[in-house]
């Protein structure tokens, strides 16, 4: 009798790239729920826009590049990119913000570099950076936390606001938008106010960081820990990034508490937790060696502190990640583990 042949190993785990991506998406769910709870349904509208754009762009580019469309569309990586990008956008941004951002992420940052596995930069963060430098006004108007806003928008009003930039007659723009806590901190500190004065006067600050932000970060932390438990990501990048950001901000806070906010504020503000567990851990653009990952994560933590404290933008995760993406090959090269039987 004749048999089929193949190269060993003949067995295989059931985990596939799709499994990995679906788990990442599941890990995002708690954070998304918290997000909608505090900032309204704009996120859902933008998610729908970004996912549609991402898959249409992916389909078109795969067809042009003559790749196996079904195989690559089902890997789930486009959905992850779309979700991560949307989670970095203002919830009430105009519709074309998420569409252009996603197009840039998928077409330029991912497919033009060779598609899945070949992009040197995190596509979602590349898309975000492009939007931030191109459309700074639209990208910095943030939604007020629902609990603070004098008036709230219904879902239909939200859709209208996103698509045609009109609000109901009785609601003003100022009623539904506010700066982010990180933004206020930066501008007020520049006016030589102390941290204590800023956090006490502005209603945006909660007990640990900004209202809403502390819970959103907590929810992303929860989802991220689940990813580590499921072994989708290793602890190295998030662990070293959070420890580094926490330590540096603690030292700064102890030396000059008037100028530097507490480490807890840093850890639970902006995109810290999202960045630590979901963005910096993107396997394609992060180092693969354990030591490389620790250096990578720690450097991102340090860069986040530096950019937040001294840079031109209020939040820093995207730029910190993109900067470290550049040195990923170098880190991989210099942090190779000692091979079995080689000299210690």
């Amino acid at each position: 009798m004749e048999f089929r042949t193949a190269s060993s190993p003949h067995n295989h785990v059931r985990t596939s790239v799709t499994t990995v991506m679906v788990r990442v998406l599941l890990g995002l769910v708690p954070g998304m729920i918290a997000w909608v709870y505090f900032f309204g349904t704009g996120l859902i509208v933008h998610l729908a826009l970004a996912l549609t754009t991402a898959y249409l762009a992916e389909l078109a580019l795969l067809a042009i590049r003559r790749k196996a469309i079904g195989l690559f569309l089902s890997d789930g990586s486009a959905a992850v990119t779309a979700c991560l990008l949307v989670l970095a956008l203002p919830p009430m941004a105009p519709w074309w913000i998420s569409v252009t951002g996603t197009l840039f992420a998928i077409v330029v940052a991912k497919q033009l570099y060779g598609g899945l596995g070949f992009n040197p930069f995190n596509p979602a963060m590349a898309g975000y950076a492009m939007l931030l430098v191109s459309f700074p006004r639209e990208m910095t108007i943030w939604t007020a936390p629902l609990s603070l806003a004098p008036q709230t928008l219904s879902f239909v009003d939200t859709v209208k606001a996103i698509f045609v930039q009109t609000l109901p007659d009785n609601i003003t723009v100022d009623a539904v938008t506010m700066a982010t806590p990180l933004d206020i901190l930066k501008t007020e500190l520049a006016l030589e106010k102390t941290v204590a004065a800023i956090t006490q006067t502005s209603p945006l600050f909660g007990s640990m960081s900004g209202i809403g932000w502390e819970w959103i970060n907590g929810a992303f932390l929860l989802g991220g820990l689940w990813l580590i438990y499921k072994r989708v990501v290793s602890w190295h990048v998030p662990g070293s990034m959070l420890v580094s950001l926490g330590l540096i901000s603690l030292i700064a806070h102890l030396i000059a508490p008037e100028q530097y906010v507490s480490p807890l504020f840093h850890l639970l503000s902006g995109a810290t937790m999202l960045g630590a567990f979901f963005i910096a851990t993107d396997p394609v653009t992060a180092p693969t060696t354990p030591r490389g990952r620790i250096v990578f994560g720690a450097s991102i933590g340090a860069l986040v502190f530096v950019i937040r404290s001294y840079g031109g933008y209020p939040d820093a995760v995207a730029f910190a990640v993109l900067l470290m993406n550049m040195v990923t090959p170098t880190l991989d090269y210099y942090t190779q583990p000692r091979v079995y039987g080689h000299k210690r």
Partner: protein, 555 residues
């Protein structure tokens, strides 16, 4: 009581084991077949050389193949009968190609040749003991098939501290060592005593994975009273049975790259090999059969059989109720490291530990591979602590220098990386490809080097001949000049003679290139030696000009 290992090894995986498929029944001795095919190459090293001729009658256990070269062992008839043919037959090899085999027809009598037992092995010279093991045709029965007698040599530079007996059997499906330990523990322990004596090993660790409690119990009972032997129950993890990983798990030591366990005072033998050594020494029986696990959904009665070496796989599968119509793949060995066979017409050999007749559900075809997403699951699983994703990258790019910088040759091809890869990349396949490419390139290099040496030698020969010719002409010219009649006074003639003598001496010194003419058709090694000698000679002798200047100063 068994102990737990004190150390651990890096990486590894936990594939589903499917061990209970084949452990339900005791070891079943295969009935005598009509025909046996014995490949001459059954071990690492050189193949055996046939010492019988077609038509000759042989007895069971009679030597039919002679160990040729050092890394080689003898081959024996599995039963009595006649030699039917010596020639190319299908052998169990992934290529599906044929190789030299001795084919014999059984006469049904199963008559043994004379067996010389040596129960008094403790008083036998160890080198004689090794020779018996070699003549008994024993190779490592764990799967690699390295001639065992070599590993019975303790060497001269270091004392053997630990003899590790490998009863780990970490590959899924395979249970032949498990069943052997359950049923024939006394034989194994008797064999261990012989191996320990040959190596003069300090202590013996018998390593068994903790998913084989019955084997652990039976070996423990068999070693009761043996103070130097200890059973270590290792937590199940693939590839713990790999020599390097087992040494690391039991002793915390690493075998240096490209070295043997001997270098750290350790020798590792498989438990099945111990049983074979027992039979060879205590009963005088050479290796003519082994335990083989026949398992998978492709056979109706999966179990372990004791099959003679050379039994055709078809016969064994049929004996176990297979292969069924659903059988898609036939794997010799386990699913992690075994190789898929094209057909069941090949025979089983000394290294065949398992025949896995797998259905499509058990071993599905590998789906399409996606690009590497650099997730690092492979490097977390790699027991050699390599970076499989980098090796893959350079194998794909055919960057053979870079891939060696990333230590490709430390890869043991255990398959952990490809097993865990979410992108479904056949990583090990790429490494095998790169290894063969490198070997081919090395061979090319050697050939080119030889051609270069030949060319260089020809060039020097031509130059030398030219110089010799020139020297001859000059000599002739000089002779013609000196023969010219001269009106100079006697002192002038004397002076001229002295000058000529000095000239000749100087010429001698100046021409180190003139070598004796019987140096043609030298081997490159000889040529190299000559060149080295001349190099030394030139260095030891000062420059002729300097020398003459110095002698002038003396005047």
């Amino acid at each position: 009581m068994s102990t737990r290992p004190l150390f651990s090894f890096f990486g590894g995986v936990h594939p589903p084991m499917h061990k209970d498929v084949s452990t339900g029944q005791p070891i079943d001795v295969m009935p005598l077949a009509e025909r046996y095919i014995l490949p001459l190459h059954q071990n690492i090293g050189q193949p055996a050389k046939p010492v019988v001729s077609v038509g000759e009658r042989v007895l069971k256990g009679q030597r039919i193949g002679h160990a040729e070269g050092y890394v080689s062992v003898a081959l024996h008839a599995p039963t009595s009968g006649t030699i039917a043919d010596i020639g190319a037959y299908p052998v169990p090899h992934p290529s599906g190609l044929s190789d030299n085999c001795i084919v014999m027809t059984a006469d049904g009598a199963d008559e043994w040749t004379e067996c010389v037992a040596l129960p008094d092995y403790e008083n036998i010279n160890p080198s004689h003991l090794r020779n018996i093991v070699r003549e008994a045709g024993i190779v490592g029965l764990g799967g690699a098939g390295f001639p065992s007698f070599i590993k019975l040599n303790p060497g001269t530079h270091k004392k053997i501290d630990t003899l590790i007996m490998n009863g780990i059997e970490c590959e899924p499906y395979i249970t032949c060592d498990d069943m052997l330990m359950r049923e024939r523990a006394a034989e194994i322990v008797a064999g261990i005593r012989i191996i320990r004596h040959a190596l003069q090993a300090n202590r013996v660790l018998i390593a068994i994975e903790d998913n084989k409690p019955q084997a652990i119990k039976s070996i423990e009972e068999a070693i009761r009273g043996e103070s130097a032997m200890e059973v270590v129950a290792c937590p199940t993890r693939y590839p713990q049975g790999s020599e390097k990983q087992l040494v690391e798990a039991l002793t915390g030591k690493e075998i240096p790259s490209e070295a043997l366990p001997l270098h750290v005072g350790i020798v590792v033998h498989n438990v099945g090999t111990a049983a074979a050594v027992y039979r060879a020494i205590m009963l005088g029986e050479p290796l003519t059969s082994r335990i083989i696990t026949v398992t998978g959904g492709g056979v109706a009665q999966p179990r372990n059989v004791e099959a003679r070496i050379g039994t055709v796989i078809e016969d064994i599968l049929a004996h176990c109720g297979g292969p069924t119509a659903e059988t898609r793949k036939l794997i010799m060995g386990g699913p992690m490291m075994g190789f898929a066979l094209h057909s069941d017409r090949a025979p089983v050999v000394k290294t065949t530990n398992c025949l896995l007749a797998a259905t499509a559900e058990e071993i599905p075809d590998r789906g399409p591979a996606l690009p590497c997403i650099r997730c690092g699951a492979c490097s977390d699983a790699c027991p050699a602590r390599l970076l499989p994703q980098q090796l893959f990258w350079y194998a794909q790019a055919k960057d053979l220098d870079k891939i060696q910088e990333y230590n490709l040759f430390d890869c043991i091809e255990c398959g952990c990386c490809a097993y865990v890869c979410p992108s479904n990349i056949p990583l090990v396949h790429y490494y095998r490809f790169a290894k063969t490419e490198i070997w081919a390139r090395e061979r090319e290099k050697e050939k080119a080097e030889l051609a270069r040496q030949r060319f260089d030698f020809r060039q020097t020969r031509l130059e030398r001949e030219k110089a010799e010719r020139a020297a001859r002409h000059k000599k002739k010219r000089d002779e013609l000049h000196s023969e010219e009649p001269s009106a100079a006074p006697a002192t002038e003639t004397k002076k001229a003679a002295i000058l000529a003598a000095m000239e000749r001496a100087k010429k001698k010194k100046d021409a180190p290139r003139i070598t004796p003419a019987n140096t043609e058709a030298l081997t490159p090694q000889q040529q190299q030696m000559i060149e080295e000698v001349e190099q030394r000679r030139r260095q030891s002798r000062p420059n002729p000009e300097q020398q003459s200047a110095a002698s002038n100063g003396d005047k």
